[in-house]
Symmetry: C2
Subunit: 445 residues, 2 copies
């Protein structure tokens, strides 16, 4: 008889690997797996008639239905967008269920910490890829260095969802392996980080223009740009002695320069709606952002001549096409997304790749060192993408270990930045799924 019931809320693209894993481990966990989604068919499809699986049609705005689903579960994994987690979390607290998510901890989630502790519960957040594996792999190194009495002076960490090199057949080196909207809107929140002892606030206008180059041995040349608020991780990561702390995003070389042209043009603007967009041609859309200059001259004004790689990248997007827009109405960002979803489609035979890279500088016994740690993973196919695996597996493993009581007496609202959480999760990712970081250490002389 099943004593456990794992409730997974959200059956979207990001849940596939998670659901497979939980179904595969159902027997071992004496568990049934309930997949709840507004779209019952989607939930059924993901379960694929597995004996341990159960599909549930759930409208999460229906408070009674949500409470009932959570009440009937042993543990809850929420794959909802971050702002929808709050009602799930409050139900989990009231009904005494542990909760696992891949989302950034919101102020509302953070505020539950004391109550979650008092209830003897564990809410693990930021437990996917980025945030998730980045926290775990970085903290393992940080804790190890601190145990050796090293002083970490610089920490830079980047992650990118990219296309596998053998499937990289467009000048951007990019295809969508994840939520396209997040890619379009990336960087709109001012980036905050620490550089050489100084706090830096880099706004959207300068962010992509100031992207840095990163060469990773055997993996290639990348663009990297700071993302969100790196300052907020200084204390949780124990990096209070570091002069530089940056977390960011990785793209193929030249991506940021070219993307910056679209940003400067205003195509990523999400602040207003263009009505009757489908009456416009693509070229009309593009020209509506150009006051009295051609696109070619605008690109030149951004510092790229007509034979440059950036000009080729922009040209490849066909932004001066005379085809009609297909979006009925939408923000510029939504219209740009619809255009890029065609151009940057991950085709059936395409594989994706995720790359993660940490770079540390530290002093130990009077000497200065550089430590680099990298993970690259290529997807299996279009469903089991590297992105779906690296997001889904840490969540799935955390859920299993939590059910098995492997996190001991840990309670409260957490990220996986503590050894009791990251050690067993990283161990299974490495041993069972072959997710191994390549580490090099060299003395800085």
């Amino acid at each position: 008889m099943n004593t456990n019931n794992i409730l997974i809320i959200g059956a979207g693209r990001s849940s596939s690997v998670l659901i497979s894993y939980m179904l595969n481990h159902a027997k071992e966990l004496h568990a049934s797996v309930t997949v709840a989604d507004a779209d019952l068919e989607l939930a059924q499809q993901k379960i694929n008639k597995h004996a341990a699986g159960k599909a549930l049609q759930l409208d999460i705005t229906n408070a009674t239905a949500l409470a009932k689903a959570i009440k009937n579960s042993t543990i809850v994994v929420s794959m909802l967008p971050a702002h929808l987690h709050t009602s799930v979390a409050i139900n989990c607290l009231q009904l005494k269920k542990n909760l696992i998510t891949a989302s950034y901890i919101s102020p509302e989630m953070k505020a539950l910490n004391d109550d979650v502790k008092k209830a003897g519960l564990l809410f693990i957040n930021e437990c996917g890829l980025d945030p998730g594996i980045d926290h775990m792999s970085a903290m393992k190194i940080i804790d190890h260095l601190h145990a050796q009495k090293a002083t970490i002076t610089s920490f830079k960490s980047y992650c990118g969802g990219l296309v596998a090199p053998q499937c990289n057949d467009n000048p951007w080196g990019y295809k969508f392996s994840w939520n396209p909207r997040n890619v379009i809107l990336a960087g709109q929140a001012t980036a905050k980080y620490l550089l050489n002892g100084k706090v830096k606030y880099i706004n959207y206008t300068n962010l992509f223009a100031e992207a840095e180059q990163l060469n990773i041995k055997k993996l290639g040349n990348f663009d990297v740009y700071a993302n969100r608020d790196s300052l907020s991780y200084i204390v949780p990561y124990g990096l209070t002695k570091a002069q530089t702390v940056v977390r960011g995003t990785m793209r193929e070389k030249n991506y940021c320069k070219a993307w910056n042209v679209l940003v400067q043009l205003g195509l990523t603007d999400d602040s207003f709606v263009i009505e009757e967009a489908n009456k416009m041609r693509v070229v009309d859309f593009t020209q509506s952002f150009l006051r009295d200059i051609t696109l070619a001259n605008f690109i030149k004004k951004c510092g790229h001549n007509s034979t440059s790689q950036v000009s080729k990248m922009i040209a490849w997007l066909d932004l001066e096409s005379t085809a009609k827009l297909k979006t009925t109405k939408g923000t510029p960002a939504q219209i740009l997304q619809s255009l890029l979803e065609v151009k940057w489609k991950l085709n059936k035979t395409d594989l994706d790749r995720i790359v993660m890279h940490h770079a540390f500088e530290y002093t130990l016994k009077g000497k200065k060192y550089n430590l680099q740690s990298s993970l690259a993973r290529i997807g299996t196919n279009q469903i089991h993408t590297a992105m779906a695996e690296t997001v889904g597996l840490p969540l799935a493993i955390a859920t299993k270990l939590c059910l098995q009581g492997k996190f001991g007496k840990t309670t409260g609202v957490h990220m996986p930045t503590i050894p009791v959480l990251y050690n067993p999760i990283l161990a299974e990712l490495n041993e069972v799924f072959g997710m191994e970081f390549t580490e090099t250490v060299s003395e800085i002389v």
Copy 2:
């Protein structure tokens, strides 16, 4: 005995001229004037013991108190920020009172139109300077041209709150004569307008860089930039045949280029809060936006060499001062505002100036014409600024005329774009207060 009671909600800087006018006309209108504000002392101060005046302490979030104040009135003038008008408007509708405001018509206000009409009421909005006098003066010309069967092909309208030329003693040619926060955040909503038959969306990154030059005879050289959504005025203004429709803001020459440096730097960012800002020096604040470049080099990167006027303007702001910031915590925009409030203070002996300019192109009987219409007004003193007068007087006159029944059977939610409203208001502004537009017409050959 007073049969009327005029309720003015909000006793701030913008209400001074309005309150004076209403008190001066109280006897003629058989009216008392109630000035309601959260700050009772401020309301008392504005009334200055006038026999017809009454100060009322009013917390507008107190629904009972707000309803009572409105119930006791004959007509309501709301000087609250736009988003607070809604509760006032709903009370006015329920209690059958006419309402006058200087704010842009919000979607919520617009939605009341049918009910306001059914109740036989008149809600006049956008009845200050800009929006306000701009609507009235432009519509008077538009209606006149249309009556002559002219076709208007181009309409550009600009307004600026500036400093009087004789008091212009800083390289920016600017001092705050109005809400500083609005000046700091100006242009952050994407500008939307019609140019040569094409819709243009110019985002914040490009807006100030693309400011145009405007020379107005006898008044000087100005920078002008498009502001907010000009497209939404095409139908209300009856400009459906025009190829160009732009409404915008006017500043002294070079202002926009220099302001653009601050925008590009990120100093006008209002999206995040810097905690413990008062531990920073001004120079630290500035450098936090510069990744690896000096301010001088950043200005150069923006296209201005070290001896340029723009460099002088930025230098005059002392953004590399070693003085501590006085703001405890705040967004970059709030901190910049606190710095500029010192630099751009309208001193006791300073006078302000408002300038408004309309430029039309139209065809009439096969010929093409250019019509320019300008208003310039210099303030009387620091309280009776040109800004306070040009915002307060149209509101005050509209309130008086409404009480006197001079708007006939006009009902509904309006801007003063119809003759029954703009004709008598403009007439008094001109005849009593000497606000006269200078008009020139020339044939385009």
